[in-house]
Symmetry: C2
Subunit: 395 residues, 2 copies
């Protein structure tokens, strides 16, 4: 077991990932419904017969062109038991099943998918983690050069990791023509369309169908809180900004939520548990979404902020809960206004914000539309697309 066959470096059905061998299979112990595998580093991983049969990667079970499963576990006999198990000269786990089917498991793949407690904890510890920020981010802004992002995959990856983990980035040296934004966005993936179009123009308009298209102060918000899935990434590309006022403001919604949890846990809980309706109505559309302002993941970590005061319906909660809901909501708005959390920066022509719209709240200070031109071009790309692109770049 010391010499690994180099042909095994990639598993037979590698699903476009490689599975390096970090430990060898040393011994197998049979139990009634599983096989307990002992690895060369002494870790013991139980694998249930059902799980092993389900994950057989032979050409009968998986179609080699699409690398997708043809077999369904409901078609396996039950109870399911191996007739013979062994570790072959190449270090693979081989199983002959009761009905004559044969399965082979690459040790790198098997280790990467082991579900003993130690293996699961190891994978959990390796998951991406958000890096929270406050006002000091104004001096430490994650800034990238447009041409480097467009031409160099390593820079692209660094930028996308910053978007994923920090949630606020700036690109500089961006050409100030209207056709540039879709070219940049599709360096990640396709653009997410909305009722405001594939691309939208943030300008003061007489017939505005959103307060975003006025010259007013626009309070801190996420875009499209009225949709079940808020857009993941938002791009704002400055084509011209000669107007007085109209600075960009950002806060890390996750940092504010965590501060709220520390400072007034009862108000934090209310914003996690109370569904609030956001709505956006126009002559041609009528969107509603009922969701909490703070969402938590399965582990209790803050995973999403949904906020847009100008897109919120009247609160609809039981009478007894209404006063506390207002206390929590007012407190959250007050915190978004506190200097400790706020980053305020003017975006000039040739600069572009790209931020996590489900985390980083954005605002615009009032501007004077008669003092000069101000035109930002915007679009959205969803989080699934960001994460897919990162995974492909990391292969």
């Amino acid at each position: 077991m010391n010499a690994i066959d180099p042909s095994l470096e990639a598993a037979p059905v590698a699903d476009w990932r490689s599975y390096p061998i970090h430990a060898d299979l040393m011994s197998l112990q049979a139990a009634s419904d599983h096989i307990a595998v002992t690895w060369s580093d002494s870790r013991v991983s139980p694998f249930h017969h059902q799980w092993l049969r389900d994950n057989c990667s032979c050409s009968q079970c998986v179609y080699s062109v699409t690398r997708e499963q043809l077999f369904e576990i409901a078609d396996a006999p039950e109870p399911l038991h191996p007739q013979r198990t062994r570790i072959d000269e190449q270090g693979q786990l081989l199983i002959d099943w009761q009905n004559g089917h044969h399965s082979a498991f690459h040790p790198g793949w098997l280790r990467a998918h082991a579900y003993d407690d130690a293996s699961r904890a190891e994978r959990f510890a390796q998951r991406p983690q958000s890096r929270l920020w406050r006002a000091e981010m104004a001096e430490q802004l994650a800034t990238f050069d447009y041409h480097a992002v467009m031409n160099d995959d390593a820079t692209l990856l660094q930028w996308l990791l910053a978007v994923r983990d920090i949630g606020l980035t700036q690109l500089q040296g961006v050409p100030t023509t209207e056709d540039v934004l879709p070219v940049l966005a599709t360096r990640i993936s396709f653009i997410r369309e909305s009722n405001f179009g594939v691309l939208f123009d943030v300008q003061s308009k007489a017939d505005a169908d959103s307060n975003a298209y006025t010259a007013f102060n626009l309070p801190l918000h996420t875009d499209l809180p009225t949709r079940e899935l808020q857009p993941g990434l938002q791009f704002l590309h400055c084509l011209v900004n000669n107007a007085t006022g109209g600075e960009s403001v950002f806060v890390d919604g996750f940092a504010i939520a965590e501060a709220l949890r520390q400072e007034t846990p009862e108000l934090f809980r209310i914003l996690c548990e109370t569904p609030v309706e956001f709505r956006n109505r126009s002559r041609t559309s009528d969107y509603h979404c009922l969701a909490s302002i703070i969402a938590l993941d399965a582990y209790g970590a803050v995973s999403e902020i949904r906020m847009g005061n100008f897109l919120r319906s009247a609160f609809d909660a039981p009478v007894a809960q209404m006063p506390a809901l207002y206390s929590a909501y007012r407190r959250f708005i007050e915190m978004t206004r506190e200097a400790r959390f706020r980053v305020q920066r003017r975006l000039d022509a040739g600069q572009l914000w790209c931020f996590d719209n489900r985390r980083t709240l954005h605002a615009r200070t009032e501007f004077d539309p008669t003092s000069g031109a101000r035109h930002f071009k915007g679009c959205y790309v969803d989080r699934d697309e960001l994460l897919s692109r990162i995974r492909v770049l990391q292969r």
Copy 2:
């Protein structure tokens, strides 16, 4: 109070809805933090001062062009109290606040947004409800004529309500040219793009990047379970179907989930509570989504099914939970195969399926690609867009 001023039929800021007056305001009773309103039908609705001030619709608080709020409740004095309250000759509730601000509330709007228990229960009872179906649906298919849907808004609305509440519909008389599907879909709204394109072609392909693009039997599944938001509506438009085999199969995933809840509640619970990873990898994309197979809404009703055996990762659950997870998963697959739930129909040229992809699982029986041509054109539209369109049509 018997004669309502007709100019009040529409509230001053009507947000594109009208608020008919079902009851008059009869009297007001002041309390420390709210006003209790008594209606002409004797209902009593408390409205908190914070809530009333928050929902002031005057032109200082709401921008009349966008009908979006400018005021933020965090800017109101606290404690907040009215200096004077009264019902005017037109039946409106008028409030003068301590700082001189004036608010007027239209009785129709106020009643529509009242949050006493009776008013909330009334609204809850009026929400749309899914109509579950089983195999008998094959004889009762909700079928609509393409030209009627395209030319008549009342038929369009009937079709969209069937999609929302039944989740499986067929259109007939659809021209068999490739440009028709986007025209039909945009009768609702814009199309949701995916890595398979804006439109996709379901055909047997040598270089398939999905088992959908082969001639294999494709088991019952939802599309794109690998995305955080599964596409809401799926369209499959048959341009030609001369091949042997390849029938469409549908089951109501909500009906199966409810049957599972009745028959084996412990297995139902496992599919609601266990996150399962779906993934779809190709040379250029790598999507992951971790979510339960059955999702429940805040009231415990089944709200979404996520299922695609060929797009599922190896189960990753604690060792002690794995056997029960397999029992639940096998049982769910077995139920999708039971005749009591299945609708099987051949789709012919000029027919089109439109179904709720987050509820109705679909499958295709194996076909013989050498026996004749088979070409379906497909696309997605999200649920937000369906519901928005229904609301606009219902105004």
